[in-house]
């Protein structure tokens, strides 16, 4: 099994910690001028979602988590799980709430997501960077007001709430950046 030394530590690296897959979310090099060097690391356990702090003597190594990232199509949510399908093999899998986490507010049927699998189990669901979603609720639009910089909240068909310009109306299709949760533009049908 591949191993990563502390010099390879960076945000996003997936490793095995106490038998569970985990992702590094913060890595800080700590060293007294005359003394032992350490890497102080924050990791998220990918099965439980819990954040853990660990310190490694610099130069140590840790087992890599054998994870695969696959493009999968989002199918539906049955109330407890989110179902995805591999568009090439048609194989289906179900992801739980921990795996879907914040991604769920952006999931629209048919959209292609990145699913991170560990031993065939989905650990992380990453939505596309950009999604197009319909506005289901917002204050009525101010016609022609494309110049003033005001904004208002709008609820999208997936439940996400984003700040939008004043001219946006219910029923409009919006392009949104899922990484920042920000409105990008209005999309014509």
């Amino acid at each position: 099994m591949a191993r990563y030394s502390t010099n390879e530590f960076r945000r996003g690296l997936k490793v095995m910690l106490d038998g569970d897959p985990a992702v590094i979310i913060e890595n800080e090099f700590v060293k007294p001028g005359k003394g032992q060097a350490f890497n102080r690391v924050k990791l998220r356990n990918l099965k439980t979602g819990r954040v853990i702090e660990r310190t490694f003597k610099s130069g140590e190594s840790i087992e890599a988590a054998d994870v695969v990232e696959t493009e999968m199509q989002y199918l539906y949510n049955d109330g407890a799980s989110w179902h995805f399908m591999n568009p090439e093999t048609f194989e289906q899998i179900a992801a739980d709430e921990v795996a879907v986490a914040d991604a769920k507010q952006w999931l629209k049927e048919q959209d292609l997501c990145t699913v991170t699998l560990w031993n065939g189990v989905p650990l992380i669901v990453t939505p596309p960077n950009h999604v197009v979603l319909k506005v289901v609720e917002t204050e009525p639009g101010i016609r022609g007001d494309t110049a003033t910089g005001g904004s208002k909240p709008a609820t999208l068909e997936t439940g996400a709430v984003v700040q939008v310009p004043l001219f946006v109306n219910e029923g409009d299709l919006l392009k949104v950046d899922t990484r920042s949760g920000e409105y990008i533009s209005r999309v014509r049908d």
């Binding site: 010099n7 800080e28 090099f29 700590v30 060293k31 007294p32 001028g33 005359k34 003394g35 032992q36 060097a37 350490f38 102080r40 702090e53 660990r54 310190t55 490694f56 003597k57 610099s58 130069g59 140590e60 840790i62």
Partner: protein, 324 residues
């Protein structure tokens, strides 16, 4: 291409102003500015400090000679002191392999100065005056002086001299600290873990904190004062949880210095680390006679971070190693 500096142009002006103010401080006190080589035929033997090396070939070295980028100007500056130069300071780049992070860059700027006739307590006062001079806008609060033991007692509830190593490990565990890969009997390693993770973040809050009376095992180049336990005449300065300076009442005994070098090389061998050459010219200077003196090294990048509120060393250096 990421060719642009990571520091703002305003920050570079503040760096220049800081350097100018430092030079005035020493000029007014009659401390001589010196330059010593960055490339040396010898290197530090400290197992916790790794040198870069390069090869000089040319006149005098037809087959190539290994030279080491210095990790501190201390050996060469002490040769100047032994030659009778009087009080000296230097502002230079130093190079340390394997060190990069929020507070580290593999090359960084160090201010190092030596005061014949001073002991480390006397030098701590001058460090305090220097900080007040270069950061005049900082509110003048009384500095804190703690022994290494007091710092551990106060912030980790532990006697770092008398407690057995397993008690130090247990204390670390109580503070939620464990370090993968640290040998259970690596006493100084466990003390360093508690120091960096538990104690240091609580030092220098709104005032300077000086730590002194270090364990003899962490003496580096400081003289060791006999007693029970023996104490190293070494000090460190912390400000806002950041390690800023390290100073010694300097070891002048050539025999003991050589024995420490050899012991460090033995530990390096045990850990399968490189065996750099001992600085024989430095030892010869000690045998000739180093005046009784104290010396200190202060990180200029970190000083600039503290005086400007920067949180990453990238904000105060034009081109960190990632863009070098």
């Amino acid at each position: 291409m990421d060719w642009r500096p990571t520091a703002s142009l305003e920050m570079l002006r503040r760096r220049a102003a800081l350097l100018a103010r430092l030079r005035t401080f020493f000029a007014e006190r009659g401390v001589l500015e010196v330059e010593t080589p960055l490339l040396s035929s010898a290197a530090s033997t400290d197992p916790q400090i790794e040198s870069f090396s390069t090869i000089y070939s040319g006149p005098g070295a037809p087959t190539g000679q290994t030279l080491y980028l210095h990790t501190s100007p201390e050996f060469a500056m002490k040769r100047l002191l032994a030659a009778g130069c009087g009080p000296i300071y230097q502002i230079c780049k130093v190079f340390r392999q394997g060190e990069a992070g929020r507070h580290h860059n593999p090359e960084f700027t160090l201010l190092e100065w030596y005061r014949p006739g001073f002991d480390h307590h006397h030098l701590m006062r001058e460090v305090e005056e220097l900080i007040a001079w270069v950061i005049p806008e900082r509110e003048r609060t009384e500095s804190e002086s703690l022994t290494y033991r007091q710092a551990f007692e106060r912030h980790a509830d532990l006697d770092p001299f008398r407690s057995p190593t397993r008690e130090i490990r247990r204390r670390a565990a109580l503070h939620g600290l464990e370090a993968r890969g640290l040998e259970p009997d690596d006493r100084d390693g466990w003390l360093d873990l508690l120091m960096t993770h538990q104690i240091q973040p609580r030092l220098g809050k709104g005032r300077l904190t000086f730590l002194f009376d270090y364990p003899a095992s962490q003496a580096a180049l400081a003289r060791i004062e006999g007693g029970d336990p023996p104490l190293a005449a070494r000090f460190e300065l912390f400000l806002e949880g950041m390690e800023l300076a390290n100073g010694f009442h300097e070891l002048t005994d050539a025999e003991e210095q050589e024995a420490r070098f050899l012991e460090e090389l033995r530990r390096r061998k045990e850990m399968k680390q490189p065996q750099p050459p001992i600085d024989r010219r430095f030892l010869a200077a000690l045998r000739h006679g180093l005046p009784d003196c104290a010396g200190v090294a202060l990180g200029i990048d970190r000083l600039l971070m503290l005086s400007t509120g920067a949180s990453h060393i990238h904000e105060v250096t034009a081109f960190p190693v990632e863009r070098a």
